[in-house]
């Protein structure tokens, strides 16, 4: 006989889990007590706040392509992970959260540190379950991992009562790969494949928009082969970045509000839009009323509720991106497309380089621009690093100026836009794959939301490279105030601490950069070893991210700077 706590740890090991991100407390202590004996099998990373645990588990999951695990106590420990659960749901990240709970006999009595955690998390989980008996632990863990990691991945909560942790039961590993009410990978009818191939064959200007679904289904090669055979250009969503290498000849750039001119323009000029593993977020579509109205739409997604949810489709294919893409590729004829789309892409790229990117990454004078920091890091890393971002201008610029040659190399909070996500997610990513460089781009606002995780970096010597784009503003909000609220800078100016002094308290090296000439040597120094490092760059304070599609506008009406607009064909 084993206790429920032991069965939990055995079942986690049986699922191949080797790392837990967590924080102890009263109602999870029986599990922590047993964890003490499992340190050869299960590495526990002690974070400094439970939000850090869940975001680290998310960063870990994105690199490992398997569920990340966070373990917390009941009450405040559990409520502290709620932001990360919501983030994982909207960004389809597989995580399993194990939370302590008061004894089943005390449920509903307002016992010390009791919260209705299942009730609180039901709308933001893929599945949640309260374990009230030690006999149910192995079953619940197996089911949790199956659900979190298959189909469209997402967060699962296990609420583990204290009596179930200490009670005893026979342990036998339970497998779970079948739940009759849950069909993670639907079968796709040949007719739909044939119809898609035919629509693509007939189109003269097809265009692909892809998202994280490509990464989640492992369809990177299939996507590239599909684009090659059909000679089709493609644009990526924020979370789709790195699914296609940046120098792939078909890659037109990033879609959406701060995306590149070429893919946003093609969206409005294609005759067939093929959406793969993406969900038409409003940051991608701009105003939906005018979005790709001229085009027929094929939408491929593993989540049936996404098909037709935002954009009406001619053909919805409910299926796994990898399988569907390879079957369509096999069914379609090779094409060489007219050069019109190629001309649009190269013209858009030239205009964007001239008007936006060049001034941003090669400024001759003035304060350091955030874009040049990112471009320099990209150059030194050669597209090989994992790029993690926080939220705001730092995020959009990191997405714009980073380069990728390996898949699963970009980690960011897309759907929820959670400031404070970056540092703990970078910690999780580095722990998932210590052999890769992990670079975090973060603003002064976002870093201070989870800055306590520098303690985790210190304790576990996590070699993350933290690049602080320090502008002394909540930059992204300030940009909106400048452009859309008549420069009324209501509470966006930040008085900041001496970050180097804070980091010194944690024994982390910081280099402050104020002048352009100091940037390149500081970056070289940062990458001279694998130790944690903060590069605190004082960037231009009132800088804006362009291009920008202002809210409520169509995706081909783009601001290039404070006065110039771009629309193809003018």
């Amino acid at each position: 006989m084993l206790t429920g706590a032991e069965i939990l740890l055995e079942s986690l090991s049986a699922r191949g889990v080797d790392t837990l991100f967590g924080y102890p407390g009263g109602q999870i202590m029986p599990v922590y007590d047993k964890l003490y004996d499992y340190s050869d099998k299960l590495r526990h990373i002690l974070v400094r706040h439970e939000q850090g645990a869940i975001h680290a588990a998310q960063g870990y999951a994105r690199i490992k392509h398997a569920p990340g695990v966070a373990i917390v106590t009941s009450g405040p420990g559990a409520t502290n992970v709620i932001t990360g659960i919501a983030d994982a749901l909207i960004d389809s990240t597989p995580v399993v959260v194990i939370a302590g709970q008061v004894a089943s006999t005390a449920l509903g009595t307002d016992a010390f540190q009791e919260t209705d955690f299942i009730g609180l998390t039901t709308p933001i989980t893929k599945w949640s379950y309260q374990i009230r008996r030690p006999e149910d632990v192995a079953w619940a863990v197996a089911r949790a991992f199956h659900i979190a990691g298959t189909g469209r991945p997402g967060p699962v909560v296990l609420d583990f009562t204290k009596d179930a942790q200490v009670g005893q039961a026979l342990y036998e590993d339970v497998k779970c790969d079948f739940i009759r009410s849950y069909v993670p990978v639907p079968e796709v009818d040949d007719k739909l494949i044939a119809q898609a191939a035919e629509m693509i064959g007939k189109a003269s200007r097809p265009f692909v928009v892809f998202g994280q679904g490509v990464l989640l289904s492992g369809a990177e090669k299939e996507l590239a082969a599909f684009l090659d055979k059909g000679d089709i250009p493609a644009g990526s969503t924020l979370l789709g970045l790195s699914a296609l290498s940046s120098d792939n000849p078909h890659y037109a750039g990033m879609l959406g509000m701060h995306g590149n001119l070429a893919p946003n323009t093609l969206t409005q000029h294609c005759d067939l839009l093929i959406a793969v593993g993406m969900r038409f977020d409003d940051r991608v579509t701009g105003t939906v009323a005018t979005y790709a109205k001229q085009a027929k739409v094929i939408h491929i997604d593993i989540d049936a509720s996404e098909l037709g949810k935002i954009v009406p489709v001619e053909l919805g294919i409910h299926g796994d991106a990898r399988e569907v893409l390879s079957r369509i590729t096999a069914a379609m004829k090779p094409s060489v497309r007219d050069s019109w789309m190629k001309k649009v892409v190269s013209e858009c790229k030239a205009i964007e380089k001239d008007k936006v990117s060049d001034p941003e990454i090669n400024p001759a004078e003035g304060p350091v621009r955030p874009g040049e920091v990112i471009a320099r890091v990209a150059e030194v890393c050669g597209g090989d690093a994992v790029i993690v971002t926080d939220v705001g201008q730092n995020q959009m610029l990191a997405a714009r100026y980073s380069r990728f040659c390996k898949s699963r190399s970009f980690i960011s909070s897309g759907g929820l836009g959670t400031m404070g996500f970056g540092l703990p997610a970078a910690i999780g990513a580095k722990i998932a794959d210590p052999s890769r460089k992990v670079c975090l781009f973060v603003g002064d606002g976002g870093l201070q939301m989870t800055i306590q995780e520098l303690g985790t970096v210190m304790q576990d010597s996590v070699g993350v490279k933290i690049i602080l784009l320090n502008n002394n503003w909540l930059g992204n909000v300030r940009q909106w105030q400048e452009l859309f609220f008549g420069k009324r800078y209501s509470f966006t100016r930040m008085m900041n601490p001496d970050f180097a002094a804070v980091a010194a308290g944690y024994g982390i090296t910081t280099v402050n950069v104020e002048k352009r000439d100091d940037l390149a040597p500081a970056i070289d120094r940062m990458f001279s070893d694998d130790a944690p490092f903060i590069l605190n760059v004082h960037v231009k304070e009132e800088d804006n991210v362009f291009p920008m599609i202002p809210p409520g506008k169509s995706v081909d009406k783009v601001m290039l700077n404070n006065k110039d607009w771009f629309e193809y064909g003018e």
Binding site: I118, T122, W127, R180, A304, S305, K309
Partner: protein
């Protein structure tokens, strides 16, 4: 604008605690008023049935049904302007379950 009608949304589920609030939450989220709610055993062993009446558009009813079906313990969901076809639905649920039973083997 689409016209609103009184829709009957039928949800067949596994017998799991907490599903009522999961299902009700789906309606609250879209600001849909529940006019009538009935829960009872479906007649298929181990399968529960929720019938929820709400006034809404066809596209909203469809969206809600698809999002309900996403829930792990929801087997199938349907929407109809009237409830005459519930026996056909039950047949569809039976077919689905026996197909899954075959796939399991």
């Amino acid at each position: 604008m689409e016209n609103d009608s009184l829709y009957e949304i039928t949800v067949y589920t596994e017998n799991q605690v907490g599903l009522l609030s999961t299902i009700a939450g789906m309606f609250t989220r879209r600001s849909l008023n529940i006019d009538r709610l009935v829960v009872y055993p479906s007649g298929i062993e181990g399968v529960h049935k929720f019938k929820i009446a709400t006034r809404t558009s066809a596209s909203m009813a469809r969206a809600v049904v698809l999002q309900l079906e996403k829930k792990v313990d929801v087997i199938k969901a349907f929407y109809e302007i009237d409830d005459e076809r519930s026996s056909r639905e039950a047949a569809e649920v039976r077919n689905f379950l026996s197909m899954r039973e075959r796939q399991k083997q």
